[in-house]
């Protein structure tokens, strides 16, 4: 019987009532008295020297209140990178300043170099167009291709960085010689060169920010589309603007999706604050859709060569990769962590391979910054691995299911530390593979293939067995790896006098459903109705210093902080109960919402304890404080390691190259499940994004650095007809061993595991159809690419 309440129940998402009835309150929905409108002036060339900006015409136009250029911000701080990565030779990465507005040079199409603030949006836009016409920018040759960028020292994105290289990273450098040796001596080596296509995150809500300044107190307020308001406050206050943190409140109200792109601090946030201070009026900015395409941090964009060395029976001996990773024109906050510690450390996959070496060169180009996007580095690692394993199976005529089985880490090997340094605590990769094969009815494939063939279609089946490190992140580990922040989280549980509860959390819900799931956990632990629990998030003046939501961390880090705070509430409740029941504290038990003296029928309800805490008429104040409110910070000991097996079946139309996804089976191990319905939704969304990457989405810059895919007409997002009815299973559960909820995280899984399953299925279909010359097709596996591959 499924639970209808608390942990494990599919409680309906309470936030959906406002989201689905148009009553959410997003940044752009807020209207403030006296507000003015900012419009950003963006570069139309990829690389250029700013010769002159004549602001006088724009400044004199109707309604214009202020004009800003890079000159106004040249003395404030840059927007920093969050991770310091060292090159193989030990030198620190090159870290150019990322200004609020470009100064001296523009470095990508969409680079903001000026802004206009006016009484109305239309007036600001008119003046911004005038300002663009009054700006002289001398074109410089655009640096777009990564290999060319590194090879040509004469043309530089940043004048001080001669080879456009941010760093040349090796992981683990000490293993390199051993890995090289193993590959040299291996009976078989499969090599694959591939591109992990660049993606635009395309959150449904574009970025928006409102700055306010209160002259009476000197306080600032920033309302913004952020996945982590405290981190944004830290960056904009301490690093960029030089505002004391205590004088700035950052609020991220309802946020319509982020997928990583709203983790980072962007220059527009500093701009609206500076403008609000100058004008002593609220100043607002909302991105147009094309601005999102141009200026949101993009995702992926790796060019990789991977080699897999193995025995003739498919037993893995070594993996070696060389990757060029695009960081774009500037370092976005987590851009240096994504291709390194979120990518290289996963390059062993779920396999007991003894030798792994990863080399990543990150390259500056005249394109938008690239940073973490749903999965962040782990999809790139998984795609490289699962594609090369599939290619090896074809070369050696081995069964892809059996090869995985043969190489999986087995349950008796945990805890297991991989050659790329991650200590996997637990897992059961054979179980998820078995489950996926059972649901996908692998043994019935031949019959389905024949049915497709009868319709003139080529049917194929693709497998991907994936693992990720999430629950980001243990500070002690990430500190060693170069992180400039800790990655704990925090929660405050406030029991109100009437017994209901407000929980202030550091995680930020921008669609995930925290308001529902976190309330389920609190209700379950305290034996009260879910409706008595309110989850408060997204406001630095209310919540403790937590690090927000990304990296499938909310439940595994913030959720655990919350349970630790609840433990403290229960402990305090026992003290109060002991006083009220005139018993010893150690004799008090707490169960089903009641504090009772063990072995007696003397008990107090949770509500009675709460009321007493706030009406302490006869408290022994020396030993018992009034009130019932507790805060806990939680810093995990380790990452969590969700894993799973995905099986995709496709039909390929050999005449047109069109791929139809017929079925998609996910068997995941997420540890313990808090709300199955929300897990279903997370996996559906993630797989949908992965199918988008595999079949449809591509960000194209031409050789001049012009973005050719700047609208939904040119950038193909998956639509309902592009995705199948998913079959999602998470019954194989090996609970996380180091957090008390036993949870691992499920937010990114679908986007990590699905792209190689789709591409492997397409290659399988082509091979079964006799087109065995096709070794690989880069994503997106579009009809034209498939058709061209068929033609040879």
């Amino acid at each position: 019987m499924p639970k209808d309440h608390g942990i494990g129940a599919s409680s309906k998402r309470r936030e959906d009532i406002r989201f689905l009835t148009g009553q959410g309150v997003y940044t752009d929905d807020l209207n403030l008295h006296g507000q003015a409108y900012a419009v950003i002036v963006r570069s139309t060339v990829a690389h250029g020297k700013i010769k002159s900006i004549n602001t006088s015409n724009a400044a004199g136009m109707p309604g214009v209140l202020a004009v800003f250029t890079g000159e106004d911000f040249k003395d404030v701080g840059g927007n920093p990178a969050g991770w310091l990565i060292n090159s193989r030779d030990g030198t620190p990465m090159r870290e150019p300043k990322r200004p609020v507005l470009a100064h001296g040079k523009v470095r990508h199409v969409g680079d903001a170099y000026a802004a206009v603030v006016a009484e109305t949006h239309a007036q600001a836009k008119d003046a911004a167009e005038q300002l663009a016409a009054d700006t002289e920018i001398k074109d410089l040759p655009a640096i777009v291709d990564m290999a060319a960028a590194v090879a040509d020292a004469s043309n530089r994105v940043h004048d001080e960085i001669p080879d456009n290289l941010c760093f040349d990273w090796g992981w683990i450098e000490d293993n390199r010689a051993k890995v090289d040796e193993a590959i040299r001596n291996a009976p078989h080596v499969t090599t694959l060169e591939l591109i992990n296509n660049r993606l635009v995150p395309n959150a449904m809500e574009p970025r928006a920010s409102i700055g306010e300044y209160f002259p009476g107190t000197g306080d600032y307020k920033l309302t913004t589309t952020s996945q982590n308001p405290h981190l944004t406050r830290l960056l904009v206050a301490a690093f960029v603007m030089g505002i004391p943190e205590n004088k700035l409140t950052v609020v991220a109200p309802d946020v319509g999706g982020g997928f990583g792109s709203k983790i980072y601090h962007y220059g527009e946030e500093a701009l609206v604050l500076a403008a609000a201070k100058k004008l002593k009026r609220p100043v607002r900015w909302t991105a147009e859709r094309t601005e999102s395409f141009l200026s949101d941090a993009h995702g992926r964009d790796h060019v990789t060569k991977i080699e897999l060395a193995c025995e003739k029976d498919g037993t893995f001996i070594a993996f070696r990769t060389e990757t060029l990773a695009n960081v774009g024109a500037y370092l976005s906050n987590f851009s240096t962590a994504t291709p390194t510690f979120l990518h290289g450390t996963l390059m062993a996959g779920p396999y007991k391979v003894p030798n792994v070496y990863v080399n990543v060169k990150t390259v500056f180009t005249n394109t938008a910054p690239v940073d973490a996007y749903r999965g962040a580095g782990r999809p790139e690692a998984t795609f490289s691995l699962e594609r090369v394993v599939d290619k090896m199976c074809r070369e050696l005529n081995l069964d892809p299911f059996e090869v995985r089985r043969k190489n999986f880490i087995t349950t008796d090997m945990f805890p297991y530390t991989t050659p790329v340094g991650l200590p996997y605590d637990t897992g059961n990769y054979h179980a998820t593979l078995d489950k996926a094969m059972e649901i996908a009815n692998v043994s019935g494939f031949e019959k389905r293939r024949a049915a497709s063939a009868a319709k003139g279609k080529l049917r194929g089946m693709g497998l991907s067995t994936w693992i990720e490190a999430c629950g980001i992140a243990p500070s002690h580990l990430v500190g060693v790896l170069g992180s400039r922040v800790g990655l704990y989280d925090a929660a405050t549980v406030r029991v109100n006098a009437t017994g209901n509860i407000s929980v202030m959390v550091g995680a930020h819900s921008h669609g995930q459903g925290h308001e529902t799931v976190f309330a389920q956990i609190v209700a379950d632990k305290l034996g009260i109705p879910e409706s008595s629990v309110e989850i408060v998030h997204g406001d630095t003046s209310k919540i403790p210093f937590g690090m927000g939501s990304y990296g499938s961390r909310s439940l595994a880090v913030c959720g655990v902080a919350m349970t630790k705070a609840i433990d403290k509430i229960v402990a305090k409740g026992k003290k109060i109960a002991a006083h009220m029941l005139e018993a010893a504290e150690e004799d008090i038990s707490f169960e089903d919402g009641k504090f009772a003296v063990a072995g007696t029928d003397k008990a107090k309800t949770f509500g009675e304890i709460a009321f007493s805490a706030y009406v302490p008429h006869n408290y022994p104040l020396e030993t018992l404080e009034p009130g019932l409110e507790e805060t806990a910070f939680y810093d995990p000991n380790n990452f969590t390691y969700p894993a799973g097996a995905y099986i995709c079946e496709v039909d390929v139309d050999p005449d047109t190259g069109k791929v139809d996804i017929l079925s998609f089976v996910c068997a995941d191990d997420f540890g313990n499940i808090m709300n199955p319905m929300i897990v279903d939704g997370q996996v559906h969304g993630g797989v949908g994004q992965g199918i988008g990457q595999a079949l449809l989405e591509n960000t194209t810059y031409d050789e001049n650095g012009q973005l050719l895919t700047g609208s939904f007409m040119d950038y193909a997002m998956p639509r309902a007809e592009d995705v199948p009815f998913y079959q999602v299973d998470y019954s194989c559960q090996t609970p996380c061993t180091h957090n008390p909820l036993g949870v691992k995280g499920c937010g990114e899984a679908g986007a990590i595991g699905s792209p190689p399953a789709v591409v492997n299925a397409v290659i399988d279909a082509l091979h079964r159809g006799g087109h065995t010359q096709v070794k690989h097709i880069d994503m997106p596996v579009s009809p034209s690419r498939v058709w061209s591959a068929i033609q040879g």
Binding site: V45, V109, A133, F293, Q706, G710, D714
Partner: protein, 178 residues
Amino acid sequence: MQLTDHRDIAADPATVWAAILNPEVLKACVPGCESMTGTPEEGFEAVVVQKVGPVKARFTGAVKLSDMVPGKSVNITGEGKGGPAGFAKGGARVELAPEGNGTRLTYTVEANVGGKIAQLGSRIIDGFAKKMADQFFENFKAALEPAEAETVVADAADAVAEDGAEPKKGWFKRLVGG
């Protein structure tokens, strides 16, 4: 994008050459051209209104002629700014050679766009550039030839002989009295 094509024009190379250097002719031949002023030596200033996919804009820009070999070849380069719509840059290498009684005009056109036109209209820009070039050179050819030139080019000399009348002049010829 790059495209190469040619047109056979029923006019001698000297006449064709003169037309290329004439801003009035260029104005009449550039699709959507509102004004064209200047000289071959100093370059031309042009205003052109065009719609590329969803983006309509008035481009103002400069056209320069270089590497001129009179009667034979010239490089034409131009850059037009369309304000918020972005910009277009292009160049054409034009070569003339006698062909029968007329001239073979061979052209290689290169076009690039930037800004909003690139972001919103890139998927149609190649077709657009080809159409613009085709229209320009069709107009140019028409300006130099009799109205019915399409069918009579090869037989122009015979036509004169048969009915004893001059073939009808293209409007450029009328304009310059050639």
